[in-house]
Subunit: 457 residues, 2 copies
Amino acid sequence: MANREIPYKIYLSENEIPKTWYNVRADMKTKPAPLLNPGTGKPATAEELTPVFCKELVDQELNNDDREIEIPEEIYNFYKMYRPAPLVRAYCLEEKLQTPAHIYYKFEGNNTSGSHKLNSAIAQAYYAKKEGLKGVTTETGAGQWGTALSMACSYFNLDCKVYMVKVSYEQKPFRREVMRTYGANVTPSPSDTTQIGRKILAEHPGTTGSLGCAISEAVEAAVTQPGYRYVLGSVLNQVLLHQSIIGLEAKTALDKYGVKPDVIIGCAGGGSNLGGLIAPFMGEKLRGEADYEFIAVEPASCPSFTRGVYAYDFADTGKVCPLAKMYTLGSDFIPSPNHAGGLRYHGMSPILSQLYDDGMLKAVSVKQTEVFDAAETFARVEGILPAPESSHAIKVAIDEALKCKETGEEKNILFGLTGTGYFDLTAYEAYNNGTMTDYIPTDETLAEFRSHLPKIG
Amino acid sequence: MANREIPYKIYLSENEIPKTWYNVRADMKTKPAPLLNPGTGKPATAEELTPVFCKELVDQELNNDDREIEIPEEIYNFYKMYRPAPLVRAYCLEEKLQTPAHIYYKFEGNNTSGSHKLNSAIAQAYYAKKEGLKGVTTETGAGQWGTALSMACSYFNLDCKVYMVKVSYEQKPFRREVMRTYGANVTPSPSDTTQIGRKILAEHPGTTGSLGCAISEAVEAAVTQPGYRYVLGSVLNQVLLHQSIIGLEAKTALDKYGVKPDVIIGCAGGGSNLGGLIAPFMGEKLRGEADYEFIAVEPASCPSFTRGVYAYDFADTGKVCPLAKMYTLGSDFIPSPNHAGGLRYHGMSPILSQLYDDGMLKAVSVKQTEVFDAAETFARVEGILPAPESSHAIKVAIDEALKCKETGEEKNILFGLTGTGYFDLTAYEAYNNGTMTDYIPTDETLAEFRSHLPKIG
């Protein structure tokens, strides 16, 4: 390999970390639909949301107007511990594929939580601390969000109660121990510690859990204990706001070398990474300043964008949260337990849902085994063992690069490498042993869950 | 926290990665004692070493004269994938300890092998490939070295056979899967695939293995198969040479901000990290250009420096390797299976042994539970879950910083954070559950193993 004009890793300096988050809603002509109070069917007010969320986070949730929101100094100092995250030119992957495309990835895994989730966890913990709360509750699926929140709470000395989707709790005992090392209390969900948990266990005794169900338990735990609030690692507008730091840094780094991405690819479960990665680029597209192709990649086993409907639905299985308008499979949908890692959420960020409905981004779904094929290829040439979630984006980035090989186009491809797979080795083991399977829900299954959607909106 | 004059993380640019390794032997007045052929009792010649090691690595092993050795471009390009490694100012740890000391750590864990081991693995794989070999064999203890070598072999398309110390193989199934994902063949040691393995199993049926024993198996596998050579992740002079990149980068980064470390601390098992970290600083001390205090930290359960003897000994339990003069507990010494992670080796790098004997560095031993206390403190404030090995250095860095708190000294403390603990959660679980124990061998035990030392040199 020869020397390269652009470094393998573009690191910004610490003072190039953005000082403000970017709120893409300010540039959206059609704003995302408001959350609805399920009792009244009317938009949820700040007062109605305050028992669940911290006040400043409610403000961020409802703020459709301010384009830039300042990052408080305490959060900024924490960001400095693991940011700026590198933007990597995937020279070795390009060589392996023999593609004329230039592949870049924004790597968010260089921190102990192992993913981008820390970007929002630290913000949410900070506002909880500032409000004088005792602690927070949350759910976690693959464990990335729970780990991130444990780290953030430990930093601000807040109590942290994590409801962990049972299948992950069992497949990932090490995740649990990281959270415990950071002082968190971890409960497998559904559990008998909440009313809703007991109800779900009675109805589905063998269930391996789902994010939606763990959310319900965490919300119940927050609203029934004084001094606690609920925090969520994806889906919400506030989370996409905090995650905009991914895209802002990526854009700064690319601008430095005069590189304009043609295609931007991110995995999509609830949308936190994808929404953050594309935010400033989408802003330019919305303002008519530039054009980009955006691709959301979701698992074929949980295809909210590609096979869901755009409708008001509960964010949680227990139906205690406000209703959100989003692409959804129905809040009763419980993905196959064979599916590795995150991206198991039945719905999708309302912001991304609106943008998708407006034709501003595309979506594709991919099968689990082809995702791990891509993960292995990537790991061997780029030296990073990717998280299964991130590997969805890798798969489509490779597909796009191979298309360029056919057409001869020198496209710039940017994808989000959201995290590392160090806690996903059970899934890698199944892949290595050839026992990994694919699951694709039938049309009948999806229609059944869709029929349970609330009749609102 | 206020803004800081020195960044939290000092990243060098890719062209600041050193172009040459530094060979500390060139500056040592008393050279490390030569390896001896156990049959003849005479210094091992290049010819005698070539059946075991690649030719260029034999040259590096025996080269006591050249101060700088060029890093081949292929290796340099691989280094660019994960280097330069950041030098971190531990502002949050300083605040937690309320110390006037300034604490820096060189973090080598930002790569999938999770440690500094990759620095030498890629070099050894490169020379094996260049020599036209089919593959390499090795041993691994905690799994860091095996993972690193798997990654390196995958990059150069070499076959990789890893003998993994049985206790680690059982405690760390995930390490095994990472290695398999990179295409390596992993066998728990002792195994029945080698003569020496069968012999050890017959004599000690319940053994949990040791590094020395795994080395013997890997060497046997290499010399009995055409096209294979043995590679080793620590102890050897060539390894310390490759690892000098740690110290060279750390020094470049500190020089940039005009910081001179007063104390430099590294954990020591076989000495690869410590030797690499201190190399250029030790060079200055040896040449009389500057003074530094160096501290080697070893586990109380395997105290080669602090309770061993300086003598010729076998590098491996099977007694098939050349004899090395080093601080040793005796090649039959098998550390307590309760001890977490690496640093389980009975001997110590001949280079470091000579320097220690010359009074150029100090050594201390620390107990496992206090190491994990330090690890937890560090993880919670600095956001990185450290490897148990690295945490030995953290423990002593904290001790030094607390001494400064008493004396009011503003010392600059530099330590090596060799890696992350993501694959050591079984040990963290024991610590979290309060079931972790300490083991300190008695004087009688040590005397017994010492009595088996070969009567040479």
